[in-house]
Structure formats: structure tokens, C-alpha cells
């Protein structure tokens, strides 16, 4: 290891992932707005032949925002923040630096293959796990290399204690590794069919209820270990750093971490309430979902209390606004989720639009807001430039906030209306409504959702423009800002 004199952090890998975050954000959210519009105006399904139908684009939307936008954001923040909290530069570790760059190239290829194969309709037909087996193998290799780099950096750290964000990044690595492998256990059919069928086709190793259980053990924990755990890693680093305030209670952060780890893994059963899985398992899913409020709110409240005595920053600094609203939306969606997991509520909520409403107040309000703030914070340090436009950032914040509110409120109303109509019976016990009755009643809410999504997408384009201009035309900074990111 070299002496630390004149040594600098190496942001080359973080920078690459920052660009892919922006690109995948635009792609994923554009598809999202298109498919939301298709639900309101079905003729939009016929724009691009088979490639433009809802069924083809919906998995592409979820996969691009999860594995494209969010994973890029996670990696960008990891390669930035991990160096800083471990006090070790990738420039000192040429082997791991090379591996990290190689891993980025692997990521690009895998992501491109994911987009192309799903657009062609090649799918394993499992929620958030649509990629077929050759891609699954590639992703496991990609993930393992990331793990090697992470533990290589940890091994070379100057700071003895691992900051709380590092624990969350480690949990992301381990959680996804375990769940992804088990859920994607599949048999490539070509090896057993005597050469019949496509080489990339596979069937799950599990069948029936077992398949559903493993699927939702994964499905819900994709939310846990991609949309929650690494995003908490981000907020624990970026909010204190941007505000100049150390985390309010480090002890609470540790407790919330272990609480989240031991509760989250058991909550996936709530996706299978009122289905054919054992009753005790459904109850377990419900109970653990409700208990999950505690560690989730532990982290969120810790973040709000970190701003104690410094609330003026909320009005002065749009990045703080993004992060505080993210934290607030985290609280909202981690209260909403457990409510939906209560069996009696779930009897109405299951299969309705309230579910995508819940997912989107979490993902748009919490995940994406946190990633936007982190990327902008990093861009001033990585590009050594001032943020191009504060007013653009403010406008983006309000446009997107209105977008999220329109999205989830319309889906709340739509979902509950749907649930009530499906269950409504007349005095003789006959169903009062046919399915198409619900569709026509829901049309206005679908239109509002599409408008909400469009507002969010407009904000995404504003963000992309602001990011590109910061990287290329922002005023040059002579020295790295200590806390608050400078902006014009």
C-alpha cells in the first residue's frame, strides 16, 4: 500500500455507473409512461407491432428500472462512498480497480442482452426474474466479481470500523446473491429434450406452490435488497455528508440494520395471502410485515432527526429536500405495505391497482429521489464542478413530487374501487359487476396515473439535462466541497 500523501480517491468506475443510471432512468421511465398510457388508452398497444404491446414492455419496464437504473445507482454510490468511508482509494488497489472496470463492461453487456432478449419476448416468466438462464449465469458472475472488489477494498481499509452504509452494501451483496441463485434454479430444457427447442429456454426447478413460495421469497426480497437496503446505505452516507451533521443515533442505525435483516427475509409470504400456501405461512408473512415497520421507521426517523436544529437546510438546499422527502416516502410506503399485508385488508387489496400504487410511492418517492440526490452530490466531487442549475433542480423536485402524488392517490382510489366492485354481491349472492364494469369505472384514474408518470418522466429529463450540463459546463471548482454541494 502506498503512502496516503497526494493520494486521491479514484472515481472512474463511479462515474461510468452515474452515466448508466441516467440512461437507464430515461429508458425505464419512458417505457413506464407508455405502458401506463396503454392501460388508459389501449390503442397505444399497436404502435410498434409485437414489440410495443403491454405484455412485452411491462417486464422490460420493471427490469430496466430495477437492474438498469437502480443497480447502476447502487454501484455508482458504492464505488464513490465505499472508498470514502473505508478511507482507501481504488487507485491504491490496481487489481481490484481493474476487476471493477471489467465488471462494469460485463454489466453493460448483460444489461444490453437483457433489454434485447426481453424485447424479443424471451422470458423465464417469473416476476422480476424474467431473464433466461444464460443471462442468470452472467449475472451471478457479475455479482461475484462485485463481491470480490468489495471485500478486497474492505481488507485494505484504513478505517477499522465499517460505517453503517458498508453494512448495508454487504447485506445487499449477500442478500441478492442468496435469493437470486435460489429463485433462478432452473433446468435448461435443451439438455434434456434431445435437442428440441430453443437453447436458451428453461423451466423452473420448483413446481406449483413451492415455485410460488420461492418466487415471492425472491420477489419481495428484490424489493428488500435492491430497493431498500442499498438505498438506506446511500441515505446514511449522503444525508450526513451533504448536511454536515453526523447521523443522529449510530446505535439506532445498528439496531435498525439487524432488525431489518432478520425481519425482512420472512415477509415475502404476504404476496401469497389467500392462496394455496399453508395458513401459518400466510400469517407469518403478515406478522413479519407489520413488525417490519419498526426497523424501517427506525432508519427513517434517524434520518429526520439527523436534521435536528438544521431544518433551514431543507429550504435552502434542494438535495436535502430530495433526501428528506425520500425518507418521508420511505416511511409512507413502509406503513402502507404492512397495512396491505393484514389479511382482511389484503382481501380487498390483492390483485388491485393499489399494489402498483404502493410500489411506485416507494420507488418513485424513495428510491429514485435518493438516487437523484446522491448522483448530484457526487457529480460536484467527481467532475469537480458546480451543479449547473439549482432552479432546475428545484423545479424537478416539485414536478416529480406532484407526479408521485398523482400516481399513488389515483391508484389508491382505483385499487379500492376495484377491490370493492369485485367483491360486491346482490341479495342473492350473485356478483354485481362484470370485469369490464370495473375497467370503465377505472379509466379516469388510469389517465391520472399516466399523467403523473409523465410529470415524473419530464423531471427525469430535467435531471438528465442538469447532470450532463454539470459534467460538461458547470463552473469549475478549485477545491472539493466539504459538505454542501455548490450549485449555480
Amino acid at each position: 500500500m502506498q503512502s496516503s500523501a497526494a493520494l486521491e480517491y479514484d472515481y472512474s468506475v463511479a462515474k461510468l455507473y452515474m452515466w448508466t443510471t441516467v440512461i437507464f432512468g430515461i429508458v425505464g421511465m419512458t417505457i413506464g409512461v407508455l405502458i401506463a398510457s396503454q392501460l388508459a388508452w389501449p390503442e397505444l398497444n399497436y404502435l410498434f407491432g409485437e414489440y410495443g404491446t403491454f405484455s412485452r414492455l411491462r417486464p422490460l419496464h420493471t427490469n430496466v428500472v430495477i437492474y438498469g437504473f437502480t443497480v447502476s445507482g447502487i454501484m455508482a454510490t458504492f464505488y464513490y462512498a465505499a472508498q470514502r468511508v473505508l478511507k482507501v482509494s481504488l487507485a491504491e488497489l490496481p487489481f481490484f480497480n481493474f476487476l471493477a472496470k471489467l465488471d462494469f463492461v460485463a454489466y453493460l453487456f448483460a444489461a444490453a442482452a437483457m433489454v434485447v432478449s426481453e424485447l424479443m419476448g424471451i422470458t423465464a416468466s417469473k416476476e422480476y426474474a424474467q431473464m433466461e438462464w444464460p443471462l442468470d449465469v452472467a449475472i451471478v458472475v457479475y455479482w461475484v466479481i462485485w463481491g470480490i472488489v468489495m471485500f478486497g477494498m474492505i481488507g485494505a481499509r484504513r478505517e477499522k470500523a465499517l460505517y453503517i452504509s458498508m453494512w448495508y452494501y454487504i447485506a445487499t451483496f449477500l442478500g441478492v446473491a442468496m435469493l437470486y441463485v435460489f429463485n433462478n434454479m432452473e433446468v435448461p430444457t435443451i439438455f434434456f429434450s434431445g435437442g428440441v427447442g430453443a437453447w436458451y429456454h428453461s423451466v423452473s426447478m420448483y413446481a406449483g406452490t413451492n415455485d410460488a413460495l420461492v418466487q415471492w421469497w425472491w420477489g419481495h426480497n428484490a424489493v428488500a435488497f435492491v430497493f431498500t437496503v442499498p438505498i438506506i446505505a446511500m441515505i446514511y452516507y449522503f444525508l450526513p455528508k451533504e448536511s454536515g451533521q453526523a447521523v443522529y443515533s449510530y446505535k439506532l442505525s445498528l439496531l435498525s440494520f439487524w432488525g431489518l435483516m432478520f425481519v425482512y427475509l420472512w415477509a415475502g409470504g404476504h404476496h401469497l395471502l389467500w392462496s394455496t400456501v399453508p395458513d401459518w405461512m400466510q400469517t407469518m408473512g403478515s406478522v413479519f410485515s407489520v413488525v417490519l415497520i419498526l426497523p424501517s421507521w427506525g432508519s427513517a426517523i434517524n434520518m429526520l432527526l439527523t436534521m435536528k436544529g438544521e431544518w433551514n437546510q431543507l429550504t435552502e438546499n434542494p438535495l436535502i429536500k430530495f433526501m428528506i422527502l425520500a425518507s418521508t416516502f420511505y416511511m409512507l410506503s413502509t406503513l402502507e405495505g404492512p397495512i396491505q399485508s393484514v389479511k382482511s385488508v389484503n382481501a380487498i387489496a390483492h390483485f388491485t391497482d393499489w399494489i402498483p400504487g404502493h410500489v411506485h410511492d416507494g420507488v418513485l418517492g424513495w428510491v429514485a429521489f435518493m438516487i437523484f440526490a446522491a448522483i448530484m452530490h457526487m457529480s460536484t466531487r467527481v467532475f469537480k464542478r458546480e451543479i449547473y442549475s439549482k432552479s432546475l433542480l428545484e423545479a424537478q423536485f416539485w414536478i416529480q413530487t406532484i407526479g408521485v402524488v398523482l400516481y399513488f392517490t389515483s391508484m389508491w382510489i382505483a385499487g379500492i374501487t376495484q377491490g370493492m366492485m369485485w367483491r360486491a354481491v346482490d341479495e342473492y349472492g350473485n356478483l354485481m359487476y362484470s370485469f369490464i364494469d370495473t375497467v370503465s369505472v377505472l379509466h379516469p384514474y388510469y389517465a391520472i396515473r399516466a399523467i403523473g408518470g409523465l410529470l415524473y418522466l419530464i423531471g427525469m429529463f430535467m435531471f438528465a439535462y442538469n447532470f450532463i450540463m454539470t459534467a460538461t459546463a458547470g463552473r469549475k471548482l478549485e477545491q472539493e466541497p466539504q459538505f454542501r454541494s455548490p450549485m449555480a
Binding site: R157, K160, L255
Partner: protein
């Protein structure tokens, strides 16, 4: 007792066991701070003082020994 019932009971008692561990952990955090064995709150500074030439909150002994050897 059927297998499903047995699994249900095991799950229940396992949950109780994990809750006890969680509360024991809270106790451990506060006790070790009260006894002066550990100051957890100082680790919050790691995110604030994160320049490469900032003094680590706790120096990793392994790395500093390597440096001394060189």
C-alpha cells in the same frame, strides 16, 4: 400433530427466540456504552470526516502495521 402444525409451532418459538436476541442486542449496545467499553456514536463521524488524509476514527491496526514495516 401434522408436519404443517409442527412447522407452525417451530416458527412461533423461533420468532420468540429471535425477539429475545434482538432485545438482548439493544441491552448490549447501551450497557457497553454505559460501562465505557465502547462509544458507538463516534462512528457517525466516519461519513463526515471522509477525506483520504483525514484521521480515521479508529485506525485499522493491520494496515498501520504494514506501513510501519515498510
Amino acid at each position: 400433530m401434522t408436519m404443517a402444525e409442527l412447522q407452525g409451532y417451530m416458527m412461533f418459538f423461533f420468532t420468540i427466540f429471535l425477539v429475545v436476541i434482538l432485545y438482548a442486542y439493544i441491552l448490549h449496545l447501551y450497557r457497553s456504552e454505559k460501562k465505557g467499553e465502547r462509544d458507538y456514536e463516534k462512528y457517525g463521524k466516519i461519513a463526515i470526516e471522509d477525506e483520504i488524509d483525514d484521521k480515521p476514527v479508529e485506525v485499522n491496526p493491520k494496515i498501520s502495521n504494514e506501513k510501519k514495516e515498510k
